[in-house]
Subunit: 116 residues, 2 copies
């Protein structure tokens, strides 16, 4: 964690500390960016509510009303952001929620809003 | 909240419910999208750690190493997403964290990852 202190100017709060370093901010931002799309949020909700906390891509297209190619594209972004894992079984890919990543992003959200 | 049930196919989880309706998903996604940028996360951390939980735009440029115009642009996105409020005092704008919006997004993050 960096602790940067701004210069004091006549107008301002005397010291503003930066409690989030650049590398951490980039990793966390990647997670939020993946969440920043309504279709992806609905896909996550669908996967989370699937039996055993997983869902097949073939079971996700109809609820969101999009093609399998589009749904697979969104799922790929969620996997790359660490929010889902993908497992191939025969013809189909199955997706599972990665709870530790959600916890991490949730904690960061609360930390961002709290005084350091 | 909509409760959409997908058709059962031979490969898949029998029933996947959609616990997030379209309107709610769009509002929440707007919040996450605003958070999906490392500079904006750092600005939020800076505002949160400012004296009295607020900060002047003039005190935020140096820690993130960007021009005031760029910082103001990022702050505008955060205000539009409901994460900050802006108050004009004399020459300067002061920004304050909107805790209820952070709580809402944090709760949604946990809900997305939990079975409905």
């Amino acid at each position: 964690m960096s602790t940067l202190t701004s210069t004091t100017t006549e107008c301002c709060v005397p010291a503003v500390r930066d409690s989030l370093d650049v590398g951490a901010a980039e990793d966390i931002a990647r997670g939020y960016k993946a969440l920043g799309d309504p279709t992806r949020l609905r896909l996550l909700a669908l996967v989370a509510s699937g039996e055993g906390g997983e869902a097949c891509v073939c079971d996700l297209t109809e609820p969101v009303g999009l093609s399998q190619a589009t749904v697979s594209h969104h799922l790929k972004i969620l996997v790359e952001a660490g929010l889902l894992t993908r497992e191939r079984r025969g013809t189909w890919s199955y997706y599972t929620i990665q709870h530790p990543r959600f916890d991490e992003l949730g904690r960061q959200l609360l930390t961002s809003a709290m005084p350091a």
